[in-house]
Structures are given as structure tokens and as C-alpha cells.
């Protein structure tokens, strides 16, 4: 594998990780902490929205993020022909 191609793979990898971590930050620190008081003005079901993100929603998003990451990376690995077996 050439140096440039290796570098290109790494840059794409970093981009994916950065995007997913941005979502990770927004749902937990954003919706669950920094904006929680404002979100509490909205109510879904019996939950105040900020409270829901802090105690439920952020966790669901975390799980989804990892599985999305797995899918994207498997595709990227194939594209750059660095996948295993």
C-alpha cells in the first residue's frame, strides 16, 4: 500500500470519527447538560425533553453510534482494500 493511499485512508477515518463524536457530544453534553434546562420546556410523553436525553436518549444514541461506525468502517476498509481476510 502506497504512502499516499495509507494517508488518504487515515484522513477519511479521522473524518468519520470526528463526525460521529460530534453527534456523541451534542446528545450527551449538549442536550443532556448544557441545553437541558431549555429542552425541559418541551415535553414528550411524561418526560421533560432535557431530562429524557440525560437519563435515556443519550444512551440509545451511543449504542446506535457504535453500530453505525462499524458499518461505515467496514465499507471504508473494503474500499481501500485494507479489510481482513
Amino acid at each position: 500500500m502506497s504512502r499516499e493511499r495509507r494517508q488518504a485512508y487515515w484522513v477519511r477515518n479521522l473524518g468519520i470519527v470526528a463526525k460521529l463524536l460530534a453527534i456523541w457530544f451534542v446528545v450527551s453534553y449538549g442536550f443532556g447538560i448544557l441545553l437541558a434546562d431549555w429542552l425541559d420546556n418541551f415535553k414528550v410523553f411524561g418526560f421533560k425533553l432535557g431530562f429524557w436525553f440525560a437519563q435515556q436518549g443519550s444512551i440509545y444514541v451511543f449504542v446506535a453510534l457504535i453500530f453505525v461506525y462499524v458499518r461505515i468502517m467496514n465499507k471504508l476498509d473494503k474500499e481501500f482494500d485494507v479489510h481482513e481476510d
Binding site: 425541559d40 451511543f62 476498509d77
Partner: protein, 566 residues
Amino acid sequence: MSVLTWTYLLVGASFALYIGIAIWSRASHTRDFYVAGGGVSPLANGMATAADWMSAASFISMAGLISFMGRDGAVYLMGWTGGYVLLALLLAPYLRKFGKFTIPDFIGDRYYSDTARLVALVCAVFVSFTYVAGQMRGVGIVFSRFLEVDINLGVVIGMAIVFFYAVLGGMKGITYTQVAQYCVLIFAYMVPAIFISILLTGHTLPQLGFGGSLEGGGGFLLDKLDGLSTELGFAPYTNGQKPMIDVFCITAALMIGTAGLPHVIVRFFTVPKVRDARKSAGWALLFIAILYTTAPAVAAFARYNMIETINGSDGAGALYSEAPSWIKNWEKTKLIKWEDKNGDGRMFYAKDDRNEMTIDRDIMVLANPEIAKLPAWVIALVAAGGLAAALSTAAGLLLVISSSIAHDLMKKMVMPNITEKQELLYARLAAGIAVVIAGLLGIYPPAFVAQVVAFAFGLAAASFFPAIFLGIFDKRANMQGAITGMVVGIVFTASYIIYFKFVNPTAGADEWLFKISPEGIGFVGMLLNFAVTYTVSHLTAPPPEHIQHLVEDIRVPRGAGAATHH
């Protein structure tokens, strides 16, 4: 059948299962002992990681803690789950590609320095011992409350079981026992939660019942709880009390600490491929999320049930003479106390001087099935689940201690010429000694066990995480940077915690640095470590050529062989 008979039956059956698995999965090589032969499927590893991670504290104490903290309990919920995203995206796949046995292995090799290896080793052993003491105590408590044996005898029985499968089977034995333990603990947690959710709100899923309305009118459960809390002088259940910056820092310290905990990281060395390490982190978090999204629901249900039972549905206080049997049962264990201050024979629970109750937070999970009048076998199940949670975590931690001593200290530093057989013997010996020390810490708990837990996360966040992260993402990070960074991170975090927990424990939020509590200071320690490592690395000579190649190599998945010595 009585509760006690059921408890003996279920706990006995689960122990027999663990021992059976241990005999079936004995380790014959160091590779089996350290990384279970490297052939664990991502799904099984996910379950094992979940059991490894969820300790006696998650199972027994967390819902109770949230029940009393209300909204602020979210720091634990987000903090102890969000770290897996960091682990999956930033650490696990690369460490798996690196393909060694332990964290000190990575730090020592990546920073081409035995000093760095030693710093990592000391941290790993310290963090693991802090953690394991609490587990052994948890085992003793469950034994004494449910099986009516002495706490110390309970600790000894727990030690014997862990000794058996950890020393015999190493990581291989531990992994497959943990899979069984996960099944036991999640079943034990969900059954009462589902029962109570149906009784209280009519929803089968506790996650929905949490936001549902109460059976028989009365509006939403959470609104009702907010109202009750305000009436009784507490802050509304769904409002936060801690300063936002502290909530932010505690959440961050717990997340990053989670991603840096050695017993969690080593689990990702046991799967065959890089791809499996990524997927395995997803499974692990999914299995953990089942409990972690249920816990806040259990917290709210339990708080509502407790207030209704003690204060009566009319809010005038229930007559003690007519109190349900669980109150009297748990009074014997001193987890709940009633003092009839106004002499009216009625119990009352409140924040202000009307209060006549002292309630331990652990009761929220342990007595939950009784409070909801569930059948005897469900109560017994909680005992088996609590034991599974404590034992699985203890075993994982003991393995880290054992591999740090046998592999990182003996093989890599003190006696590099020992054969594999001798190394395996040292590993078993170290595991054995660690079990005994852990047991002693359980029997004679140092008064500060609860306080030192803040250490485990703070130190993991302030030491390992930046060193590993920069080791992968910054080719320029070198030995000088990593060592100074780790030392600065640890010294800063440890001094802050020691000062505010032991030297000056009465100091309140006003004296804390930017109002950040000792629990959250690991986040600041981590930032310091990052800054120092980066600056020092860029001011000194770059790492040697072969290290830069190593870093390039771990960034690409293909070619991950099995985890090996060399």
C-alpha cells in the same frame, strides 16, 4: 418454598454453573490465560465485557443512588455508557491491531521505555485493587442479607469461587463465566423491573413506564414524583441541583475513565480481528444499555413506591403497626430505621424536621421486589444477580493485576528469560495472591473505600487515556512527553482528590477549583496530561523510525495477527 430456600437454590445453581464452565475452559498457555486464546466471538466478548463492567455498584447501588439524586444521577448513566463510544472509535480497534496482552505492554512499547511501562503498571494495579475491594465487600453484603451467613464467611466463599475459575482458567475461564454471569444478572435485574413497571404504569417496558402515567389516574409518574418531592421539602425529582460545570466534568471524567480502565480495555484483545473489536464494543454497550436505561426507571418507581408506602396514599403517614413486612425485615439489617418523633405511631418520610425515617440507598434495588410484593423466587433472583455482578467484575480486575505482575513486571522487566510455563505459573501465583489481598480488603475494609472509587476513574482518565490516545493519533508523541504527561496528570488528580477527600473533607463547592468536585477533577487532570504530553513531545526529539512505523501499522486493520509476545 420460602425465600431462603429459593435463594440457596438459585445461588447454588449459578455457582455450580460457574465452576462447571471453569473446569471446561482451563488455560494451558499464557495466550489462553491473558487473552483467552484470542478466539472469542464479538457477541460473546460483548456479553463478557458487559458483565465485567457492571459491578456490584451498578447492580445494587446505582438505581438507589439515582433515586436519591433525581436528575443529577444522569452523570452516572451518561458517564458509564458514553465511554464506550470513545473506546470503540478511538482505542479498541487500534489496540487490537497492536496485538499485545496488556496496557503497560502498549505504553512500554509505543513509548520505547521501561519507565513508561512501570508508570502504567503501577496505575493499572492501583486502579484495579481500589475497584476490587468494593466488589468483595459487595459479595459479603449479599451473602449476609440473603443467605443469613456472616459477612466475612460470605467474602471467603466469594474468594474461593473466584480463585477457582480465575486461577485455573485465566482470561479463558473468566470470559465464558462472565457470559453466563451476564445472563444471570440481566435476567435478575429485568424481571422485578418489568413486574413493577406493569403494576405501576401498565407498560411492560420499564423504559416506557418511566415516562408513562400511573395506573388508576394521578397523571404522569414523573410529574407526581416532582409534586411529592416538593411537598416533602425535597427539590423536584427532574430538576438538577449540582452546578452545570460540575455535572459536565464528572460526566467527562467518568466517560474518559471508563475508556481508560485496564480491565475493560484488555477485553478487546480477546477477539480475533480488528473488525471484531469494533463490533464487540457495540455489543458490549448494547448489553450494558439494557441495564442502564432500566436503572433510572427502577429509581423512579422505587422512590414513588417507597414514599407511598411510608407516607400512605393520603400523605398523612402510614401506621407502623400495619406496615408491610419488608419494612420490619430490613429494619433488622439497619438499612431502614424508624424513629417515632411525634409519637403518633405513624411513619413519615420528608426532607425537613417532619422526617422520621433513615433509609439506605442500597435498599432501593435489594428490597424492590418485596416492596412491590413480588413472589419469593424473584427476591432470590436478585441475590444471584448481585453476586454475578460482583464476582464477574472481581475476576476481570484480578486478571489485570495478575497479568501486570507476571507479564509486564516479571517477564518484561525483571526476568526476561523465564519460559512460558514459568510465566504461566507466576500469573497463577499472582492471581492467587491478588484474590487473597482482595478478600482481606473485603473483610477489613479500609474506612475510605467509598472515597477512593473517585480515584479509580480520575486516575484512569488522567493517566492512561491521553497516553494511549496520543500514542495512536499523534506520531510525534514521544517517551519524554508521555512520561511527564502521565506523571503530571496523576500527581495533579491524586493531590486534588487526597486534599478534598482526606485532608480537608469539609470544604464545600466554594473552595473547589472552579466548583469542580473531586469526582470530576480527573477531567481537568486529563486536559493537563494532554497539554503537557503534546508540548514536551514537540520540544524534544521525535520518536525513532521504527516507532513511527509501528504507529502507521496500527492505523490499518489488515494484518492483525493473534495477540502475541513479539
